[in-house]
């Protein structure tokens, strides 16, 4: 009986030790917090936000963090209107937006935006000129690039998307995007559309690339975490979290957590490059 008790104590102690690192350290600051934190906006941010929120809510169940998408435009608008505590954007808010809503801008990661095709597509490299021609509609058949004799199905994002803006600016050199392009409303929807359409080309945040979509090398540089970090792959942007006025309380702690070492780990895990 006594022995069993001892074994139980050892087991308990070792379990305690195992859970200690996860619940200690940086998450300690959340211990006395309670309340609700509302986040919305950029869809590239969502995996990181979810992971961070889960970790925080695990140590303190009195904190409720809700995460919604909508795109960069929505994020900036909603935080400006005070509908959410944090509005995420995949582009820096314009000076006008910052001034109008008194926004405070926090950049916590760098992210690449990569052209993607269906994994069944045998075309995996393009030049920048070819890319611009594809999106403007000048090249309209995969045959012209050495692929199947099928029309190229273009996918783009809505005008409020930060991902679109960066891709258009740095990937297409502000060239036109054909009006025939299909429009989807999030990074997730883009991935879903391209992964189901063998003749598709679209673009997603590098952090969202997995085996369901294939990245396309641009001028010989494959968009990966490494090439974005080292600066060889040029189509990149910051990921931002914006608050109205200086953040305080739970909002501040959340943003501090993201920019800390634990946050950096989460950010890298999801394919982005943390910035300090």
């Amino acid at each position: 009986m006594k022995k069993r008790l001892l074994a139980g104590k050892i087991l308990f102690f070792s379990m305690f030790c195992l859970t200690l690192p996860a619940s200690g350290g940086e998450l300690d600051v959340f211990a006395n917090e309670r309340g609700e934190l509302k986040i919305s906006g950029g869809t590239a941010h969502i995996p990181v936000m979810k992971d961070a929120a889960k970790k925080i809510m695990m140590v303190n169940s009195r904190i409720q963090i809700s995460i919604a998408g909508g795109g960069s435009g929505v994020g900036i608008k909603q935080v400006g209107d005070g509908l959410v505590n944090i509005g995420n954007s995949g582009r820096r808010p314009t000076d006008k937006e910052i001034a109008r809503h008194n926004l405070k801008v926090f950049q916590w990661a760098v992210d690449g935006v990569a052209p993607v095709v269906n994994p069944k597509n045998n075309i995996n490299k393009l030049t920048k000129t070819q890319l611009a021609d594809i999106f403007s509609g000048k090249i309209s058949n995969w045959k012209q690039l050495g692929g199947a004799d099928r029309k190229i199905n273009l996918y783009t994002r809505d005008e409020a998307s930060g991902t679109r803006e960066v891709f258009w600016d740095k990937g297409l050199g502000k060239g036109s995007i054909s009006p025939a392009a299909n429009v989807v409303i999030s990074n997730g929807a883009m991935k879903a559309a391209v992964s189901k359409d063998p003749y598709a080309i679209g673009f997603v945040s590098v952090g969202h690339i997995d085996r369901t979509v294939a990245p396309v090398a641009l001028d010989g540089v494959i968009p990966t975490l490494k090439t974005v970090r080292e600066g060889q792959y040029k189509i990149s942007r910051g990921l931002y979290s914006n608050t109205r006025g200086l953040p305080s309380g739970l909002t501040k702690k959340f943003i501090d957590f993201l920019s800390g070492p634990e946050g950096a780990k989460i950010i890298s895990k999801h394919g982005f490059i943390p910035v300090r």
Binding site: G70, V74, R150, K151, S161, P179, A180, V183, I185, K196
Partner: protein
């Protein structure tokens, strides 16, 4: 009485709101500009002409799918099937009217779009055709039920008279039931058209949302409702955002006009 007044005033208030919010865009670019040009915000063009065409095409085509389907179903329920089967069919249709449109959208993406893509070998499969087929399926239960109701409301002596003259079921349907139920059916069609015009999610999910003026039913295109949903994320102060009130106004006036025309036709004939 009070609730009726509230309802009525809300409708008027919405109209006033839309006009008020839509005015800056209409004044800024001119109504003709908004109605007749295409959407290209980077070149300061905020026209919704392609979306109007798409809305028209999608909703009319969806009726073309839904009408024969509903007509057949209501014949079956009303005349051809046994009482037992008719009752069960009716229950099933009532259930179907309650299915959220997002479900139809999902089914469309996973089942219909790939089939259309491979069958026509043109484009991504996300097209006017895909959206209108799905919309047709969505509105047909409602349409069928209204058809059935209008068949049921035909006075019994009419039908008895036909029977007494030795008409077959088909003859009775063709010469008595259909003419007598004409206006009830028209109501059903108009109500369904309203639903098809107003539905957002199905077209947002499977019509493709491109901003071109569609040249064929296999083209990807954007309806007015999907356009509102897509542009809604834009900055409040931007001309893009202001222009979507015009879309709302167009939709509103279109439905009003449709209702008015049907009322007028029904009253004149009756």
């Amino acid at each position: 009485m009070l609730s009726a007044l509230t309802c009525a005033s809300v409708i008027v208030l919405i109209l006033l709101f839309l006009v008020y919010m839509g005015l800056p865009a209409i004044k800024g670019a001119g109504l003709g500009q908004l109605l007749l040009t295409s959407w290209d915000p980077y070149r300061d063009s905020y026209g919704v002409y392609p979306m109007m065409i798409t809305t028209g095409a999608v909703s009319l085509l969806s009726l073309a799918f839904a009408f024969p389907l509903s007509l057949g179903c209501s014949f079956l329920i009303n005349a051809a099937a046994s009482k037992q089967i008719a009752r069960q069919l009716r229950h099933m249709l009532e259930l179907m009217t309650g299915i959220p449109t997002v479900i139809y959208g999902f089914v469309g993406i996973f089942l219909l779009v790939p089939v259309l893509r491979e069958f026509f070998q043109s484009g991504s499969g996300m097209s006017i055709l895909a959206a209108s087929m799905m919309l047709g399926i969505m509105v047909s239960p409602t349409m069928t039920l209204i058809f059935c109701d209008s068949f049921d409301s035909i006075p019994r002596p009419y039908l008895d008279a036909a029977d007494a003259l030795g008409a077959s079921r088909i003859q009775r349907l063709y010469y008595v039931t259909l003419p007598a139920a004409k206006f009830g059916m028209l109501n059903g069609v108009v109500l369904s058209l309203g639903r098809a015009v107003g539905d957002t999610l199905i077209s947002l999910m499977i019509a493709g949302n491109s901003v071109q003026t569609p040249g064929s039913v296999l083209d990807s295109a954007r309806t007015l409702t999907a356009h509102i949903a897509l542009v809604f994320a834009a900055d409040y102060e931007s001309p893009e955002f202001r222009s979507i009130f015009t879309c709302g106004l167009i939709l509103y006036l279109f439905i009003m006009l449709l209702t008015a025309v049907v009322r007028y036709v029904c009253r004149r004939e009756a």
